[in-house]
């Protein structure tokens, strides 16, 4: 399948205009890039858990989805779509449908790393053929910027505020991509909206996978990350350049680095772009925190390189 911009631009958009996502939102970019990887001539069912994307695209009586769509609750998107996919297999087996369907979840990090994690793990273990996309903006943005298991250490959120006794979120984020990879599903990847061709390729592989596929795509949120709205793609790009968000895939257990980083930049370059880390640069004692963030990023990066055989 082609990833030429000329070809991709001819593909129909499934997420139509008129939705109420913020200007400069990373989520809609993620959705459009991933759906550019959908094979031609297949039918699609999209599912969202409760979150920004859901409340902004399905405001009754309108919808932005030019395909079948279901939202059920916050923590159960993977099990809801498990049911849809199982119904499809049952009807297909009985000869009641001859269509070729794909099933895709677009869930935020809250609905994936935290409350939706059990349902996700269950669905992966049961081998439902679905593409689960986490549009990761590293906090609960729909409810107003609260920390999640995906929030980077040191970040300010409304539930991990900085103050006299706090430098923001005290814990490192959960490495969910690795946890998902440990389910031994056919395809797992980390992507970024700044690397559209890489994201589309990964989506193509995910839609072809004969079983569950998972893509964790970094989708910055200017409201929560505190940067000017026109810089969403730049911020995402800096995350990749500093290896704060390494691009890689795990295809049938094989690790592969996809976003080659010629010269790894210091993580401060990424953090400095965002108001959620501004407090770290104002106090001398927070230097230690910055160092520990850099150390965490380095360790993760070395590990991924090792797993991908690129030491």
């Amino acid at each position: 399948m082609s990833t030429r911009l000329k070809d991709l631009s001819k593909k129909d958009e499934i997420l139509k205009g008129g939705h109420r996502l913020c200007a400069g939102c990373g989520a809609s970019i993620a959705v459009r890039q991933i759906l550019k990887g959908l094979p031609d001539d297949v039918e699609l069912v999209v599912s969202n858990p409760t979150g920004c994307l859901e409340v902004s695209t399905t405001i009754y009586p309108y919808t932005s989805w030019n395909c079948s769509y279901i939202h059920s609750a916050f923590e159960n998107v993977a099990s809801t779509l498990s049911g849809v996919e199982s119904a499809y297999r049952s009807l297909k087996k009985q000869g009641k449908t001859d269509k070729d369907y794909r099933f895709v979840v677009f869930a935020g990090d809250g609905g994936t790393y935290d409350i939706g994690f059990q349902a996700l793990s269950g669905a992966l273990e049961r081998n439902h053929r679905m593409v689960y996309v986490c549009y990761n903006n590293e906090a609960y943005m729909n409810t107003g910027i609260q920390r999640s298991g995906a929030t980077l250490k040191g970040a300010w959120t409304t539930t991990s505020p900085h103050g006299e006794e706090s430098y923001g979120k005290a814990e490192n984020r959960k490495d969910l991509t690795s946890i998902v990879a440990a389910h031994d599903i056919p395809y797992v990847a980390q992507a970024s909206i700044s690397n559209w061709r890489d994201a589309v390729k990964k989506a193509q592989k995910a839609f072809e996978a004969d079983g569950p596929a998972f893509i964790n795509i970094l989708s910055p949120c200017h409201r929560g990350w505190r940067y000017p709205m026109e810089q969403t793609v730049e911020v995402a790009k800096k995350a990749v350049e500093t290896c704060a968000w390494p691009l890689y895939e795990v295809e049938n257990g094989e690790y592969n680095l996809t976003g080659k980083v010629k010269e790894k930049k210091p993580v401060e370059e990424y953090l400095k772009m965002q108001g959620r880390f501004a407090h770290l640069f104002k106090k001398e004692e927070n230097k230690e925190v910055l160092d520990s963030i850099q150390q965490y990023i380095d360790e993760k990066w070395e590990r991924i390189k090792y797993l991908a055989g690129e030491e």
């Binding site: 609750a73 498990s82 049911g83 849809v84 059990q118």
Partner: protein, 399 residues
């Protein structure tokens, strides 16, 4: 009328339900094991493993996911079922409202069991009573036969286009689920014809008609109207439940209504009871009648929708009425849920019996004939003295 080709079997309640499910042949069953429901899932899984059904089994990792997957499957135009008990129903609570709000005709047997804490595996009705306001139709069963019959009828009620509401079939944990009983099965093809082809209000898997299901009612405000429609559907279900009960009677010789009455026409006092305790109360009332004591009873089958008007009509001639509740509401002395509902239904009527509430059998406490006799004597006192000394009573508490 003569019913031909019936087969008489000795089944436990869980087998009766699993057999009904085999004959219904749902497209998807998503379920999680929980005592005392587990045997339904096990038996049905074996049926699926042996190719006796077309069902896709989804062995989910929790009851929350069981209901979620069932919602997804039903929204996809398939006939989808699950079953649960107790804590499992509690864990489903959020999604019960989603199933009814999306108007999905899901059928779910629930094997009634007490809710923690303390943990207790035995029967009471606290679990399903907790779900009484979730927009599900609730059909109670007295025995394995009724659990089987109700499961088959539930499909036809849920999938009626004037209803499109999920239906819960209730059977008492262990007392029905694990006790062996003599019962009659219908022939496979008769059940197949009776339930007919699956009928859901919409399907995610209709490529010509893409739908957005579960959208956000945040700006324009239709939520209120949706909820009113659910209430209308619940009202519509009265006539559907009645018709389906009559049709089932033509098929099986066992017709069903909202409730069943025994000796009520000339009774002075009566009992209203749900589930397996009806057997004990019926036996006792029969003994009382043999001794010339004018007792009667009503066995309530349809708890949601609540046939308040009909119940009032059937009991208003009594001097005293005892409502038997197998759960409490912890409202601070208001009594059990059935009692509160029936008392409320009586508010508009001048002619009413003196009413008492007997809360019994929590956590599997046995309802013996002696306890029913104790209640009987208190009812006789009420009739004699024309007054209720204690409205809410706990029957069979340890001293």
């Amino acid at each position: 009328m003569a019913i031909e080709n019936k087969s008489t079997v000795a089944y436990v309640g869980t087998d009766a339900v699993a057999e009904a499910m085999r004959q219904i042949n749902p497209d998807v069953v998503a379920a999680y094991p929980i005592t005392p429901q587990t045997a339904i899932v096990e038996t049905f899984s074996t049926m699926a493993a042996n190719g006796l059904v077309d069902t896709e089994m989804v062995n989910v990792e929790s009851e929350h996911s069981a209901m979620s997957a069932t919602i997804g499957a039903s929204a996809s135009g398939s006939r989808a079922m699950t079953c649960t008990s107790s804590q499992g129903l509690g864990l489903m609570w959020e999604t019960l409202y989603i199933a009814s709000g999306l108007r999905l005709p899901i059928v779910m047997p629930n094997v009634n069991r007490a809710l923690s804490a303390p943990i207790n595996i035995h029967c009471d009705h606290s679990d399903s009573m907790g779900a009484r306001d979730s927009g599900w139709i609730q059909l109670f069963s007295e025995n394995a036969q009724e659990a089987y019959d109700n499961t088959i009828q539930a499909i036809k009620i849920a999938e009626n286009s004037n209803v499109y509401l999920p239906v819960m079939v209730l059977l008492d944990g262990f007392i029905i689920s694990h006790a062996i009983e003599r019962m009659e099965l219908l022939e496979d093809n008769k059940v197949k014809d009776f339930v007919g082809e699956v009928n859901t209000p919409y399907s995610l898997l209709d490529p010509n008609n893409p739908v957005t299901v579960g959208s956000f009612d945040g700006l324009y405000g239709y939520y209120f109207e949706f909820k009113k429609q659910q209430e209308e559907a619940m009202k519509n279900s009265f006539s559907v439940i009645k018709e389906v009960g009559e049709d089932f009677g033509k098929l099986s010789g066992r017709s069903y209504e909202f409730f069943e009455t025994e000796y009520m026409e000339d009774a002075e006092f009566g009992f209203l009871v749900l589930g397996s305790a009806a057997g004990t109360v019926r036996h006792h009332v029969k003994c009382l009648r043999e001794n010339g004591i004018p007792a009667g009873m009503i066995k309530l089958r349809t708890y949601r929708p609540f046939p308040g008007k009909e119940l009032v009509e059937a009991t208003s001639h009594l001097k005293a009425l005892a409502v038997m509740d197998r759960s409490d509401t912890f409202a601070g002395g208001m009594g059990g849920p059935v009692f509160m509902d029936l008392r409320s239904a009586y508010y508009d009527y001048d002619k009413k019996p003196l009413m008492t509430n007997y809360i019994y059998g929590l956590g599997g406490r046995d309802l013996s004939v002696e306890l029913v006799q104790q209640a009987t004597e208190e009812m006789q006192d009420i009739v004699r003295n024309g007054e209720v000394k204690q409205t809410v009573n706990y029957l069979g508490l340890k001293e």
